[in-house]
């Protein structure tokens, strides 16, 4: 096993991340306006933007889901207990002792166990809460109706609001994590150019050098050291 700078976030993944980030921020801003938390823009502007961006995000999610399953990238999000305790111990104790982050990204495991669990929760709990309630919302708002359903069901609004608050919570923690185990730039750069330090097995290294030479960007010294 050896550390290498390799392409860990491919172009689509980065595009997905940033479009999703932009969409979620826009949706939170406009959603909170619709909710009545602020009045920085008019209700109708907020509602229009919210609807359009929401439809856009749904399309993006459709592509992302397809991508996750066809490229096997879903494996990154499988929950694991292995190493979980060490991560928790680091955040709550080790970090204060000046220890280094115990986790090294692996080729098929680019998130630490806690991170993977958080992202999985986001994908299978919070996001579905948002889009299922949101789709019902859209369906009704754009003219759909159920027989027997007269009024907009408040439970839909409740779920949608609850999910939005959960997202805000996620965002706060997500952003704070950028400051842990490396500098802000170190954390953001991989999501811009795609490259990050990853612990590769010899097989993975050989594969990348042979088949994806553009995806491995070791400086010469480092790679010579490994040889």
């Amino acid at each position: 096993m050896s550390m290498h700078r390799i392409m860990i976030y491919t172009r689509f993944e980065r595009l997905w991340h940033w479009l999703q980030a932009g969409a979620i921020l826009t949706l939170l801003f406009t959603g909170l306006r619709i909710h009545g938390t602020h009045t920085l823009i008019s209700f109708e502007t907020a509602a229009t933007i919210h609807n359009i961006v929401a439809i856009g995000l749904l399309v993006l999610w459709a592509f992302a889901t397809f991508w996750l399953f066809t490229t096997s990238n879903w494996r990154h999000y499988m929950p694991t207990k292995q190493g979980l305790w060490r991560i928790i111990r680091f955040y709550s104790y080790g970090i204060f002792q000046g220890e280094h982050h115990p986790y090294h990204k692996a080729f098929w495991r680019k998130h630490n166990p806690l991170q993977a669990a958080a992202y999985l929760g986001l994908k299978i709990v919070i996001f579905p809460m948002v889009w299922i309630s949101g789709l019902i919302y859209l369906y009704i708002v754009l003219g759909g109706s159920w027989s027997g359903l007269l009024n907009f069901p408040a439970a839909v609004a409740f779920t949608h609001t609850l999910a939005a608050f959960a997202l805000i919570l996620f965002l706060i923690i997500h952003l704070y994590m950028l400051t842990i185990g490396g500098s802000l730039i170190q954390h953001i750069t991989p999501m811009i150019n795609g490259f990050d330090e990853v612990d590769l097995s010899q097989v993975e290294e050989a594969y990348l050098e042979a088949d994806e030479p553009n995806h491995i960007k070791d400086d010469i010294n480092q790679s010579e050291n490994h040889r």
Partner: protein
């Protein structure tokens, strides 16, 4: 002698009906009017001035009517079925007898027993009580069909001698001229009564004032000569002298829309012209608005306020203060100046204290088209305000929508022992009429006796509400109510229950808990960060 007469005239004028006199003149003033559109635009095939039947000397209304009926030989029968004639309507949904013959309102309280005055607006000649004339020649065709603006009506009786002088001095009607110039009813024809409901310009409805004879587009997009120039009958579609759109037969949610091509719908609803999806499907906003149609009446957004255009409506009336005199004479105070500069009454001995208002944001309520009236026979709980017409409907009723109303607030006399509303004898040349004698108990006793209703003799005053659907004064679409006027913490629909309105309703505990959790997380992060910094500094030192 002259001075004496002058004094008498002035004081009596104030005592009685200076406001009422406006009726015939104000509203019908437009001889050079462009043709108003009706629901069934026709290029007429007849010139009434050339009809032999009309080329004769007329001395009275009934003579003209006979001439009309000599050609329009079904019109008499048709009219005698019309509510403008019967003043009575049996509501099959509530089983109640409605109409001016029966109801008590919270303006001048009752037409019943005061026909000598109120039947000025009954489409008959000489109806002095509810024993309606059977003769068709007693129908007044001209009040609706005069196009000259020179026709007018006076109260059938002169009332108390204190009031009689008022109705002298009108120019005699030129019957031949009027008869030869009949046509379809114009806004000013309907307006001669309906603009003056409640005893003066726009007093009652709030959305029907003399302004509506020639409104600007801003006041009414449909009826403005610069807009659609609709006559009232463009929407109040008529068939055989029966027209649609009575408050008594409310249709709060039209599910039929325009109907099939070629079939004119006898319906007075926005949807009967604009369809069930009235907004163009060209934006998310418009699609959203089309779904609002299901639960929100068109009028709720498209009439942002009523009593627009310069004429005030009465919003509050206090009968408790009626009957005050100065040196034995009634008096009037006019301390409200309305938009067009005219002064409006704030006190009148014969009626009590008033409040007037303009550009008023409506009162919104669920409404399914049915009103349950508090009639003279209804016994109520006097500890609570009484709804003269209780609006039926709720969020759980598919026929209901959120409708705008003018809510009239009046302290009205009632029978304090039997807890019911009363007929008050206001008008009459006798010593019991309130307008002349200012003795309320006596006037009520007479009013109830005439109607064969019991009266305990104990008079109290009760706070009453009446609700008038706001449905005229439709503004241009740019001036419709903005989304955020309802979708706001403090919005127009604060009183509306049973639905979730985004931006207005919140799950308060969810919001509170969520923001608390977010704040705690933020503080936790801050704490974590501080410990990291502190630990780093300490490590550096050691």
């Amino acid at each position: 002698m002259e001075r004496c007469l002058q004094y008498l005239q002035v004081s009596l004028l104030i005592t009685c009906f200076s406001g009422m006199m406006v009726f015939a003149t104000d509203a019908q003033s437009s001889e050079t009017h462009t043709i108003e559109k009706t629901a069934n635009p026709i290029n007429t095939t007849a010139n009434h001035s050339q009809f032999k039947a009309l080329q004769q000397k007329f001395n009275s209304g009934p003579e003209v009517t006979k001439a009309c009926l000599s050609c329009h030989n079904q019109a008499g029968k048709q009219i005698q079925k019309n509510i403008h004639w019967t003043w009575s309507y049996h509501n099959k949904k509530t089983g109640q007898l409605l109409g001016k013959e029966h109801l008590i309102n919270n303006f001048c309280s009752n037409a019943r027993g005061n026909e000598g005055m109120c039947a000025q607006c009954h489409i008959s000649y000489g109806a002095k009580n509810f024993k309606l004339p059977k003769k068709q020649s007693q129908i007044d065709c001209l009040v609706c069909h005069d196009t000259t603006g020179s026709y007018y009506r006076l109260p059938p009786t002169k009332g108390s001698p204190a009031c009689s002088i008022l109705f002298a001095g009108k120019k005699p009607i030129q019957w031949e001229h009027v008869a030869q110039n009949v046509g379809l009813p114009r806004r000013s024809n309907c307006g001669s009564c309906h603009f003056n409901g409640g005893g003066g310009d726009n007093v009652k409805h709030g959305d029907l004032s003399s302004i509506m004879a020639n409104p600007t587009k801003d006041v009414d997009i449909h009826m403005s000569p610069d807009g659609q120039n609709f006559a009232c009958t463009a929407c109040h579609v008529t068939k055989n002298h029966q027209w649609s759109g009575s408050r008594y037969q409310g249709l709060a949610r039209d599910l039929k829309g325009t109907g099939k091509p070629g079939f004119r719908r006898v319906a007075t609803s926005c949807e009967s012209c604009h369809g069930l999806e009235p907004h163009p499907k060209d934006s998310i906003k418009h699609l959203t608005l089309n779904t609002h149609v299901k639960r929100v009446a068109c009028q709720a957004c498209h009439i942002p306020s009523f009593a627009r255009g310069g004429v005030a409506t009465r919003t509050f009336w206090d009968w408790r203060t009626a009957g005050r005199t100065k040196k034995g004479l009634g008096f009037m105070e006019e301390n409200y100046t309305q938009g067009n500069g005219k002064k409006r009454e704030t006190y009148w001995s014969i009626k009590g204290n008033f409040k007037n208002g303009e550009n008023i944001v409506p009162y919104y309520a669920w409404y399914n088209g049915v009103n349950t009236y508090t009639t003279v026979d209804t016994h109520f709980d006097p500890t609570k305000p009484v709804d003269i017409n209780h609006l039926e409907g709720s969020a759980n009723d598919a026929a209901s929508r959120i409708w705008p109303f003018k809510r009239m607030v009046t302290w009205l006399q009632y029978d304090k022992k039997y807890n019911n509303l009363v007929y008050t004898h206001l008008w009459g040349n006798d010593d019991e009429s309130f307008w002349g004698n200012f003795k309320l108990k006596k006037a009520i006793a007479r009013g109830m006796k005439d109607a064969n209703k019991p009266f305990s003799g104990e008079v109290g005053f009760i706070k009453t509400y009446s609700y008038w659907p706001t449905t005229h004064m439709v503004a241009p679409k740019e001036k419709a109510v903005a989304c955020m006027e309802c979708h706001a913490t403090d919005g127009r629909l604060n009183e509306i229950k049973g639905i979730y309105i985004a931006g207005h309703h919140h799950f308060t505990w969810l919001d509170k808990t969520a923001w608390l959790v977010i704040a705690l997380t933020g503080s936790g992060i801050l704490l974590h960060m501080l410990i990291r910094l502190f630990a780093a500094v300490r490590r550096k030192k050691s």
